[in-house]
Symmetry: C2
Subunit: 747 residues, 2 copies
């Protein structure tokens, strides 16, 4: 889930104080509404402020200097990949060890009590173990870093889109996230450990590329050139890609994910670096996990989830089967939409009533206990016994009431980490599951997964979606082979499980291109690309008819000013004049300090960009720049004394990035208020401008393609008449009855 | 090769008359120089002219209307994929049949004469057959459509970059291209049929999306909405991707290729459509080729070139082998650079001396004959006999002087289509080739391939590059296994052949991300991704040290104003004021027809965009728009009589797109010259503008990200002071000693 509803409007940067934490829990009681657009989110600025300082630095730099920068970028990307791979490795090993310990203990206990009766004690043990794990994870998340909840994908989507989500790329968030995901997966929740990897990769990237950590209060004094939004975003893209790559063993899928979500402008070198990070990440994971599994030569674990090998020989499909997969197309979209609708209402319920950390922890524990109980009941009442083959891959086969040499097949699905369950559904030989088991499992797991997503634990929705889909996919496959009774081709239900898994996942998250590639790479078989693509496309079209994708729902519920790819198609009616915010607060080239302080302190407007004028537009200066200027007291009256002082450099701005102090923390004496500040050197003298008559789609295109934060609207005489920001554009969206306008709100 | 050096400056559109064809061959005698920037190339315009007509149309359209448009786009992409797949299929089958016929005939002949002596007759037969095929192909290309020569990739790169290359996406070009590639591959040249697929896909896309063909003079009156550069470019991207996809069975690689070369702004829906086209394309090819090969169920031919299956079990590599592949990294870059350097000099020689069609045809025939002779000599003098196994995949095993049950292994490499040779090098069991054979083969094929690329035949360089690389890769592999004498792991030289092939190809063409993905998809084994990426990266770095990639060399030799991803890093010194062209010819809102005609007829300036002013900038009008207005005589004085006439619509502009008539063909009487034309309704009232002080990188970013053709430079008062076009930006490039400025030239 997406815990951000907490910032006060004054707090324009990531700084967070204990007092605000209290305000935060109180503010949460205000219900969120998807028809509102929150004013509390600031934008990232992907447009370099090309002021004199910047130009001087760039002009001083030689060709060799630029080359060194480029090499540094590559080194950083390599590091990002390596560290992300290591983190993935850590999570995997920790989960394996903890889950192994847990299942062994419960299994022993069950075996003990199966003979003597009193299995309720086993149930209590299992439920208690699960709840304990989940409790620890939920406490860490709810009390220490709520932003670490959920998969983190919506937050990273927003970040890459250009929305500043507070605390999202901090080291503390990473630590809580990793710890939380280990707890929740080991705690047996219906969650996966894949989604959080994307967030983890992004945090690693933000940390490494800035050469410092504010959580640790440590500045390594390296990579200072990269301390601005433009560069940082590029690295965060690489980190997210590395995360996807490590999660699914899908380096290309990772690159496409990053590009699909983030990069509005495609740059060849950037893409190549992102790909490098992805490759390093999956290779690192593969290398260390192979050693951990004791097969260092095989490199058989490219990702956290492994679909196993789909050999073309064993489970090839014939062309017209692509159309036979047809019945799978609709359930994916519809079940996905159903999942999203239920989760939507549940999220609204949670926002209204379950907003205190202790309540959140209790809900998580409840879900953990219920999951264990339901699983136990299912296993207990299931009488689906299967013979235990010689080459069985079952990790923890539960005999329970089955005859000797047999195992309970419901337990394969429930008494296991979800990754293993998915793999069993894909690869277990025909006949391993009876249809009833699969049907009941699908239903129960669907409910559990819906309930689980949005809990205050750190966990992803990919694996549960795959598992639900694989279960009903396999069920359909079995039914199909029963109907046709042609044992030759349709005998292998594994491929139907794969298609079902793709359909369900596509119906829930609605990513398209990147998801296809991820699925194909995880499958390791290119021939499945075509049916997987068809299935994902249909799932998206069908699902979109009912409701948006899960991540988009959560983004909307938080009223984030998210910019889509294009302006709404029917928005040619609107022009910059209607869209812009006006009047605009402008400064003069040489402005009185008192006025600047007053304007910056005005909490009712809280502007971040200020055109510089005498009459015509001469430039644009940012709040962050003004704050640095005020902090260093760069006043005209002090210029004489400043001759002895050193001149303000770009470094001073970079050191303050990204958490510029709030204006309240800067003391300006009454004398100083009467001083003047010369903005000429620091303003961006060539901001992008548009005339008032420009249509909304045209404004949108310029804004989005260049990743702007402020776009100045001018009249014929080049006088400032308004300012277009992200919120002005995000306000218009396409509703059921045409163009709708969202209301701006302080929440 | 890249045959475009032919347009006169007046001819601003694709129209070409027989007279000009003659001028063309004369103009060719002027030597091309890579330090020049040709003025003859016009730009494509990816910025919609949002004039009143356009806005009215967009505003009239309902939400449903936009949805229908979107569906139409999908249908077109599906069609593009299908047709591209079919064309690939046609080429493959034609080549297989012709080559099969040729090799059978020669083989019979050789077998006949081996016993009796007189093999020189076989040689003559072989050489004559080859020359005949090549002659037919070369005549078609040289006399009917020179733009169809070569692989077409440089041309498509330029098109997607925004340069208008005359005739490049015409149906006639496609026909000649397909015919030519069949002839040159069947003619046994050292060429591949993969590169031309990309060009073919692009032509298909341009044709289908416009719903008409000017070559056939047929207008289907559909898809009229898409008749503008913005939309057409998107479809051409899809076509190029579909071509890559069909050529290599690499749908994702195709998408990445298109994006790497073309799309400056990444749009999710567009990418998804491109992917759809790619998938349909490879699936269509796979489906029909499987039927042709008599195995309809297997779907085993996803692309024109098939690397065959690299099973992880058989030829797995261990992690540190990635570093063992290290010795392969450098030869790739260096041999690639050597290839490019030789080809560069050869191309200059060709531009100077071999520019008459008949000379070109003769050179092609000579190469074909030499290729056959050399191959024959190599086979004749080779004494590398290998036992003919039971499971041999040899199509045409030549026994020659080998003992019974053996075959000549040099013939595997030479007496075969290059695709099969590549596959043999990848998959034949250890010991199939002796090192000497491979060494000699590498050397000879290298020379032949260098000589062949740039001939006036339609053919690609991918397969020869792969073949050269595979040969020396396998050679190194054999040497390595001899040195280490550890038979267990390094016994299989096939994987070394693969890595070598990647290195050589990377060293020649220097595409990076897309090439990695293409290689991985063609290999069908994701685990090779990491070493392939490392190899391609090193090849690029090493190769770039010496010379640019082959395609870039050919683009440069044609003096095309190609825009790279970013402005040169050290160009912050320059501002719009230095870069822009000035003075600018402006029109008034209501302008005298005579003046417009005079300006448009002025061949010495030949401007295409005209700011509309009275003092301040009010809009921008294009030459093409003015021509349509003149043609329809939209004069103020006729407004009264026009009440009865219908009003000019967007349709009139679309019908004229893309070949607007030249101004000379429009008759304007002396009376009409005194009339006035009201431009208000037709000009783009909100062109993008920048102030004079804007730095070059900033101008470049705006220009490139939005795909502009004209960018107006204004002063503080919003008065027009200059115009930045593609040539102004492409002029600056980074040379060895820092920033260099290219000279503009009429050639």
């Amino acid at each position: 889930m997406f815990h951000v509803g907490s910032r006060s409007t004054v707090d324009l940067e990531e700084e967070i104080t204990p007092e605000e934490d209290i305000v935060k829990s109180r503010l949460k009681e205000i219900p969120h509404n998807e028809k509102l657009l929150s004013l509390k989110y600031e934008s990232l600025d992907y447009d370099n402020s090309e002021n004199q300082l910047f130009l001087e630095e760039e002009r001083r730099m030689s060709h060799m200097g630029f080359r060194c920068l480029e090499i540094r970028r590559w080194v950083i990307c390599g590091l990002i990949g390596f560290l992300t791979g290591l983190i993935a490795c850590l999570i995997d090993i920790a989960v394996e060890e903890l889950a192994g310990y847990k299942y062994s203990a419960v299994k022993q206990n069950i075996e003990k009590f199966t003979e003597f009766g009193g299995l309720s004690i086993s149930l209590i043990l299992w439920a208690a173990l699960n709840s304990a794990f989940v409790m620890v994870g939920a406490i860490a998340v709810a009390f220490f870093e709520p932003i670490a909840a959920g998969s983190g994908i919506p937050q990273i989507k927003c970040y890459l889109n250009g929305v500043k989500i507070p605390c999202v790329v901090r080291l503390k968030t990473l630590a809580i996230k990793v710890f939380g995901v280990i707890c929740s997966v080991a705690g047996g929740l219906a969650v996966g450990k894949e989604g959080p990897m994307i967030h983890s990769g992004a945090v690693v990237a933000a940390g490494v590329s800035q050469g410092r950590s504010t959580s640790l209060k440590k500045d390594f004094k390296i990579f200072e050139y990269f301390r601005r939004d433009t560069e940082k975003r590029d690295f965060v893209s690489a980190g997210a890609a590395a995360g996807v790559s490590a999660a699914f063993g899908a380096p290309v899928g990772g690159v496409l994910f990053s590009l699909e979500e983030g990069a509005s402008f495609w740059n060849q070198m950037l893409t190549w670096r992102i790909f490098f990070a992805s490759m390093i990440s999956t290779f690192t994971l593969n290398f260390f996990l192979s050693i951990y599994h004791g097969k260092p030569g095989e490199l058989s674990s490219p990702g956290l989830i492994n679909f196993g090998r789909f050999d073309s020989d064993v489970s090839s499909y014939i062309p017209f089967e692509s159309f036979l997969f047809f019945p799978y197309y609709f359930p994916g979209g519809m079940l996905g939409a159903l999942f999203n609708v239920i989760n939507y209402w549940l999220t609204i319920f949670r926002i209204r009533y379950i907003h205190r950390p202790c309540l959140q922890v209790m809900e998580a524990m409840l879900v953990a206990a219920v999951t264990a109980t339901v699983a136990f009941a299912m296993i207990y009442f299931s009488n689906d016994c299967q013979p235990l083959g010689q080459d069985s891959t079952e990790e923890y086969p539960l005999q329970l009431f089955c005859a000797d040499g047999e195992y309970n097949s419901m337990a394969t699905a429930f008494f296991n980490t979800p990754e293993r369950s998915v793999r069993s559904l894909f690869h277990n030989p025909p006949g391993s599951y009876n249809p009833l088991t699969l049907g009941v499992f699908t239903l129960v797991y669907f409910v559990l997964a819906v309930w689980t997503y949005g809990l205050t634990v750190s966990a992803g929705v990919f694996i549960p979606s795959l598992l639900i889909g694989a279960a009903w996919g396999r069920l359909f496959g079995i039914l199909l082979s029963t109907i046709t009774s042609s044992q030759s081709i349709w005998a292998d239900p594994g491929k139907y499980a794969l298609i079902g898994a793709a359909a369900q996942l596509g119906g829930i998250v609605r990513m398209t291109l990147s998801l296809t590639v991820i699925m194909v790479e995880a499958t390791g078989n290119v021939t499945y690309g075509f049916p997987i693509m068809l299935v994902l496309m249909t799932a998206k079209i069908v699902g979109d008819y009912f409701i948006e994708g899960l991540y988009d729902i959560h983004i909307k519920l938080q009223s984030v000013p998210f910019l889509h790819w294009d302006a709404p198609p029917t928005s040619h009616w609107l022009t910059a004049r209607e869209v812009m915010s006006s009047p605009v607060t402008c400064f003069n080239r040489v402005e009185r300090v008192g006025r600047i302080v007053d304007v910056l302190s005005n909490t009712s407007t809280n502007h971040n960009g200020f055109p510089v004028v005498p009459g015509k537009i001469c430039g644009l200066i940012l709040r962050s720049q003004l704050i640095v200027l005020l902090k260093h007291k760069v006043f005209v009256e002090r210029a004489s004394s400043r001759l002895s002082q050193r001149r303000l450099q770009l470094k001073d701005f970079r050191d303050a990035y990204p958490r510029f102090p709030p204006i309240q923390s800067i003391h300006v004496s009454q004398d100083e208020r009467e001083c003047m500040m010369d903005l000429n050197e620091f303003m961006n003298p060539t901001p992008y401008t548009v005339p008032q008559e420009t249509s909304l789609p045209r404004v949108f295109k310029l804004f989005r393609a260049l990743g702007l934060r402020h776009l100045v609207v001018v009249d014929d005489e080049n006088r400032v008449v308004g300012l277009v920001t992200r919120k002005d554009l995000a306000r218009y969206h396409l509703g059921k009855d045409g163009l709708e306008e969202l209301q701006l709100a302080q929440t």
